[in-house]
Symmetry: C2
Subunit: 522 residues, 2 copies
């Protein structure tokens, strides 16, 4: 006879079964010893029986939870999310951007082949219930390209803040979810070289400075510069992606380790790898050179200077730097030839913002991610994506995507010591005696009509103490108290929740008095 | 040999195949003549061949479209959506509401059995890719109840604006989509009777009046009053839902038709149906009676007065009416015993807002829906839903859901004659001569730092005319023009796009001048 398991025991069992199932599949794939597989299967089946036995004990019982890798955003998380999103949308709107929304799922064919082999495996599919085959969006960039191609839009400056879906292994304690927000700003259209990129960098700078997260650096590189360096050391085109993936680790790992990987796993010769190191570590090796000098000195290397791609990349970045100067963002921008972020669809400049020193006073474990590494925003130019949908009407694009979940976590950690209000109620209308519900209702209606954010408690005859407590718990700055005598005299008592000072206000002066008190309390 | 079909021909064919497939399934289910089925199958297969033949002609070619029943929201639609949503969130926040977000999909078990037989069929399932079985959310109410139960939240006033998913037959020309926004406000918690309901009605009133859609009526009824009426005419409990569904049609159909349906399809006797008519049409039969009088006169009918449920319903509605008076919403509220909206989970008061006369000057076809019928908001009390997830911690709730897609359509139609701006850019920074890009960049940066919404065109040397046209097309109210002479003199030219008046402004006065001009232009 099985005894009923607790919900958490059940969930733990289910997770174990899932993990064992995965392990068995891996063993089968790697053609492991059949005896071992048999043993693992038996162990898993025993656990399954336990769970099913328990289901029989509690029919219809299931664990109340969010789907794996997803979460609810409660009022506190939403309040922080709204602050961050407001800063971003204000910035985008200040730059004249429009916004669009696309369906949360797309025809499967739209997403097919856009995210490489690895990404493709992480796409959520919808069940075939008759009709079209659909998949959940994996990012906001491919739907944007589909939108441009489908609606034959040739120019657009748009932002899009929405959730995307990846069936990745979630690490919720480190902020890695299967459903998470992305915040993208993109400029589509045939324009003069590097002007749209400059505005993307300006926007990164404005958003990060408005978020007050301390020092940040916007690293800048160019795909053509990377291609040039790789050509000079004799790497072939088929190695491009894998070499980039190794080089991209340089913000977390020392060169020695990356070099080893390049030789052992990526197939570079020791000489080629060493040579590449002198290129991609150029900034690290010459930390005192400014952006222009980095480019100039790299161009002093004859093989790089002789490579047409490298040269074009350098010229474009130099132009971009002059625009950065005009936009006043030069001090945040750092040309760094080691930046090699996900180059699958980038065709030109690439950039990434990092907070190198971490957040003052915030420890890694409070954010769930190491605060000193990893990017908080990144992007680049991708001129080929729209053409994948509509070869005749290709639209060049560049853009930036903010790591908004990480930004939420950073702001959350930064504000951890403060009380985070989840409402913006300014006034609680309360009564000191019984039978004044209708009077509270009339007064609160009056306040609403003036645009004042106000509440009453939903009780016919609430106790005074409970009402004051309600205001204190929710940090409602003012309480308006009515009583029979006050109503007769045409006055109300206005109480400051923090100072507990109470003053009588004539009803005819109430609107003005409230407006003043609220203005000074903010 | 097949010739290539156009995309629209292909789509039409695919739709026909889909419809024929559905028909064949229906025929099979109803055990129709096998010869007929065979004929239909042959016709469908012939069409399939055409489509597949075409796919062979254009390998890899697919129709670029949104999934069936979904749409993109372009910049214009989004601008209107933002206006409507801002009015709503302002109202909810004025009333002290918090907001939450839940995952777009839930464990399938969470949704199971919550939407009746019909609703259950319309739920989108995700493919089983290993792991949990998931379904897309069908509304925001069940996820809210799951949230309350899972997090053991006993009181909450929250709003939630997000999209939901129903695999319904879409009628996009009439605004019926498979993916659409819902906007819900709910009050959860054990409170004194009818106070939360009164705030829901107040919020409906404030939102609808702020949207300026003209006259609206908030119909009010009570589930217990309906149950009482049905008991008095001798209908049994099993008939409750189906009789309600017929009665609910009274806002679109005359009583005669509803009566016929009640007798022929719902199994009421002609006498019972006729008697029910005198109850549910009480408001229609006595249009001049006010809300209190309707209730009083119905209570004059001995059988109704003797029914405990009916009596309790009347008493609760009377209490609610006194609160409506205190909140100043009486004139919009109409007690109407014919209101019988989707009663599956409602347990107490129910309400629904309609715009009876349609929108002044707006024709049905402009909105895609008949503007004079159908509800734009509705809700009621549902005390049992949270308990379905957590029997020990049941939380009574009431709320209101706004038909926000219909409201978008109404506002869209109302504003159809005006130019709908999709950005809020206030100033375009332009240059009259060549080689002034860096100057434009410096000036526009200055404007951004002042919080002014401003743009430049992304060209090194744009023509003056093109820049002015850019401002006119986008209704950007001001253009700041710089030239070499102006820069030397420390002035810029400020041009009003509408009046075309140009004035010189000193650079040191620019911030103040711009602030004044922008303030007066709004």
């Amino acid at each position: 006879m099985s005894t009923a398991l607790t919900d958490s025991q059940l969930e733990a069992l289910r997770n174990e079964i899932k993990e064992q199932g995965d392990e068995i599949r891996r063993l089968k794939e790697s053609k492991a010893d059949p005896a071992l597989i048999k043993e693992k299967v038996a162990a898993m089946l025993a656990k399954k029986k336990l769970v099913e036995g328990d289901a029989a004990v509690k029919p219809g019982k299931f664990v109340l939870k969010c789907p794996k890798g997803t979460r609810d955003y409660g009022p506190t998380a939403m309040a922080i999310r709204e602050q961050v999103i407001e800063i971003m949308t204000d910035t985008f709107k200040r730059h004249g951007a429009e916004t669009i929304e696309t369906p949360v799922f797309e025809l499967r064919d739209v997403l097919l082949g856009k995210y490489g082999e690895e990404g493709g495996k992480l796409v959520y599919d919808l069940q075939d219930q008759g009709g079209e085959l659909l998949s959940m969006r994996y990012d906001l960039t491919v739907p944007f390209a589909r939108y441009l191609a489908m609606n034959k839009v040739a120019t657009m400056k748009r932002y899009h803040i929405a959730r995307v879906y990846r069936r990745d292994q979630p690490v919720m304690t480190r902020g890695r979810y299967r459903e998470f927000y992305q915040c993208d700003f993109d400029i589509a259209g045939k324009y003069d070289s590097m002007i749209p990129e400059a505005e993307c960098l300006k926007i990164m700078d404005e958003v990060l400075s408005a978020l007050k997260l301390g020092q940040y650096v916007i690293k800048l590189n160019h795909r053509l510069m990377l291609e040039g360096m790789f050509a000079v050391i004799g790497a072939n085109d088929s190695q491009f992606k894998s070499v980039c993936a190794s080089v991209d680790k340089l913000d977390k790992e020392p060169w020695d380790k990356v070099e080893e990987e390049l030789v052992k796993e990526r197939g570079l010769t020791p000489n080629a790898a060493a040579r590449l190191g002198t290129f991609v570590c150029f900034k690290a090796l010459h930390p005192d050179l400014d952006n222009g000098a980095i480019l100039d000195q790299m161009m002093q290397i004859p093989e790089l200077a002789a490579n047409a791609k490298f040269k074009q990349g350098v010229e474009e970045i130099k132009l971009l730097l002059t625009y950065c100067a005009a936009f006043g963002v030069s001090s945040a921008v750092e040309v760094n030839p080691s930046l090699a972020r996900g180059l699958d669809y980038y065709t030109g400049s690439i950039y990434e913002a990092v907070i190198p020193d971490g957040l003052a006073g915030v420890k890694d474990e409070e954010v769930g991610v190491p605060v000193g590494v990893g990017s908080v925003a990144g992007g680049g130019r991708y001129d080929g994506l729209v053409g994948m949908f509509s070869p005749k009407a290709s639209v060049p694009c560049c853009g930036v995507s903010f790591g908004i979940e990480r930004l939420f976590a950073l702001i959350e950690a930064k504000n951890a010591s403060e009380q985070q209000r989840t409402t913006s109620t300014q006034v609680l209308v309360a009564s000191a005696q019984k039978n004044l519900l209708a009077d509270r209702m009339r007064l609160v209606s009056q306040l609403w009509s003036w645009g004042v954010k106000a509440e009453i408690v939903y009780k016919e005859n609430p106790k005074m103490l409970n009402q004051l407590q309600y205001a204190e718990e929710r940090a409602i700055p003012f309480v308006l108290i009515i009583g029979e005598q006050e109503l007769k005299d045409g006055v109300v008592k206005l109480r400051n929740t923090k100072s507990r000072v109470e003053t009588n206000v004539k009803l005819e002066d109430l609107q003005t008095s409230l407006a003043q008190m609220i203005a000074t309390s903010n």
